[in-house]
Amino acid sequence: MLGKGGKRKFDEHEDGLEGKVVSPTDGPSKVSYTLQRQTIFNISLMKLYNHRPLTEPSLQKTVLINNMLRRIQEELKQEGSLRPMFVATSQPADPLSDTFREAQPPFGHLAPPGLLPAELVSTMPLESCLTPASLLEDDTFCTSPAAQHDGATKPPPAALQPVKDSFSSALDEIEELCPAPTSAEAVAAEPAAHDSKAQPSESDVHKPEGLPESRTAEPKLMEPLPGNFEITASTGFLTDLTLDDILFADIDTSMYDFDPCTSAAGAASKMAPVSADELLKTLAPYSSQPVTPNQPFKMDLTELDHIMEVLVGS
């Protein structure tokens, strides 16, 4: 790294990494190109998934890093390389790119690679009068029809659950305190709004056809871990809370109510209600009391306080 007065020790290594990109077809330098590409890929992943700011991450930075990842993956795809990629962390490397891949086919024929978002199918008709900015926030968080959505197995596209993000990042933190078993249930928590029963196997409600194929095609490329919500917290731009949700939707306060049986907002609400029962499941291993669904529960005030602290990230 460069710093004040820092001396470089490994000049040759640096040259290989920092030097001009050589064409991948050159024989001996293909290695250094591949190495460079690999390094940059790893760095990009770490930037996306390790970063946990208290404030929203910069959308510009996220977009640029995502573009970098996509470009490298495109290259790999074209090269037909199935060599396993080193995933620097144990976190899921891939879900973001998978969802990108899934999302592309529907618009693929419409949008050649270089096309700018401004020129893509725009849902905003040209109006003869000025559009008040407040109306913009009517756009739905369901940014594309269900068929195109990647399954909710892996980090579900947050587009489905706008408010889920704040809950999910909170759940995230809770999950970090307790290991994986709850994450499968937590995953199931989202479609619970659509399904009455929450079962891990049913969580890919919106799984598109393309998913299994892509999975088998690049088996080792990335191993997405189920139920990890890191991605939704990091890729802030996938979640787009609309002003409508904030102003008009019923805020689900079941978490803060002592009466857990009241289910959250009704069908009219666009929000995915995280009802107390689902939340319970994720909290179950955390709480010292055994908890079963559909039973009223009493939580210690102190435990609730502690959870509140975790939720507001203090």
């Binding site: 790294m1 460069l2 007065g5 820092g6 470089r8 920092e18 030097g19 001009k20 990109v21 460079q36 590409r37 208290l54 404030t55 929203e56 910069s58 959308l59 510009q60 930075k61 977009v63 640029l64 995502n66 573009n67 970098m68 996509r70 470009r71 490298i72 969802t99 999302a103 618009f107 949008a111 700018l116 978002p117 401004a118 199918v121 725009s122 905003m124 109006e127 000025l130 559009t131 008040p132 900015a133 407040s134 109306l135 913009l136 926030e137 940014t143 594309s144 408010v163 993000d165 704040s166 990042s169 731009f237 996938l238 979640t239 787009d240 809370l241 609309t242 002003l243 904030i246 990230g313």
Partner: protein, 461 residues
Amino acid sequence: FLGAGGGNDIQWCFSQVKGAVDDDVAEADIISTVEFNHSGELLATGDKGGRVVIFQQEQENKTQSHSRGEYNVYSTFQSHEPEFDYLKSLEIEEKINKIRWLPQKNAAQFLLSTNDKTIKLWKISERDKRPEGYNLKEEDGRYRDPTTVTTLRVPVFRPMDLMVEASPRRIFANAHTYHINSISINSDYETYLSADDLRINLWHLEITDRSFNIVDIKPANMEELTEVITAAEFHPNSCSTFVYSSSKGTIRLCDMRASALCDRHSKLFEEPEDPSNRSFFSEIISSISDVKFSHSGRYMMTRDYLSVKIWDLNMENRPVETYQVHEYLRSKLCSLYENDCIFDKFECCWNGSDRQVKFLSLCTSDLSNIVMTGSYNNFFRMFDRNTKRDITLEASRENNKPRTVLKPRKVCASGKRKKDEISVDSLDFNKKILHTAWHPKENIIAVATTNNLYIFQDKMN
């Protein structure tokens, strides 16, 4: 480079430095924006702690003709407070992203300041008199017992110590889902635009509960998002024209008369990529961090990571001039990506429209002929469009005595380092100059290091 030689070259001297001396920088003190007002008498800075500090230039002392007035603190106020978005469980930073002054219409001064989400119109006014001699109130404000009042008198205004008050007159909130990166006041002085990553809104200065969306590049499917808005500015003369830059190195010029929603640009400025310079980081370094129109509005300047480009509004396919700010960093891009420096957003500015400067620019009819921008190691650079000469200077407390001409700096890219040169590896990447401003009329510049504000003037003979 611009040296002490030619009679027309500006010789920059240290004038003042503001801010804490210690190396330990408090995060709240990090300067995030610098802006002169239209007369140059006031200089405003915003910081990460949400504060605005305004400096005022002393009236020129006729006896001291060898230096221009010094800048002293005029007003300090807390513009924005940190907020918490409960739905997203994220903090909203109070950092001031931009300050823009309104032209002065009466005794008070007005400026717009913005953080990521909210824009505020501040009125800064002076009070140097106060009424004294109330009948019902004591001097300290306590009410008198009415039964003790035996005579009546008329309160009079008495002089008092100058007090500068800042009050928020308008708060423009809740119109941006994403982070505001630019505000720009229209030449009609009635409207202004605010731009975030995906949208640009048009406001009327008097109306806070409504704004109109004029650009929206949010894709229907957020997963397809590959480009964001990075900066926007109104044309200095044409009140229906504005430009916005993107993270892919393009600039779009839009005319608000064409349609209500300016999704179609009137012009698209983009330079084709140089294949010999292609790298993994080509896109990132092409991202434009600042765009500024020239005084006449005929040209505009853009800043990307490694260069400053001057565009002629009549030519879309390439810039008319390109100046390399720190080309020696091109071979370090991987490290700079790793430590996030590659995402640093450098600003750029034009010289003021000074009489002397006008003389230099006889060959071009534009008064804008020098560009200034920052770099690392507390270096900043200036490029003269006419002479094609450039200079690198350093903002540092060492070796800076008032009225001593600043010594030019040079970075040694490779090979043998000459005396007084600095090698690339010795550069301090934590000392970055992102914000600079040029006095609108005189050769006075304000340069912000991390937490200090330097003021330099040209040497007056």
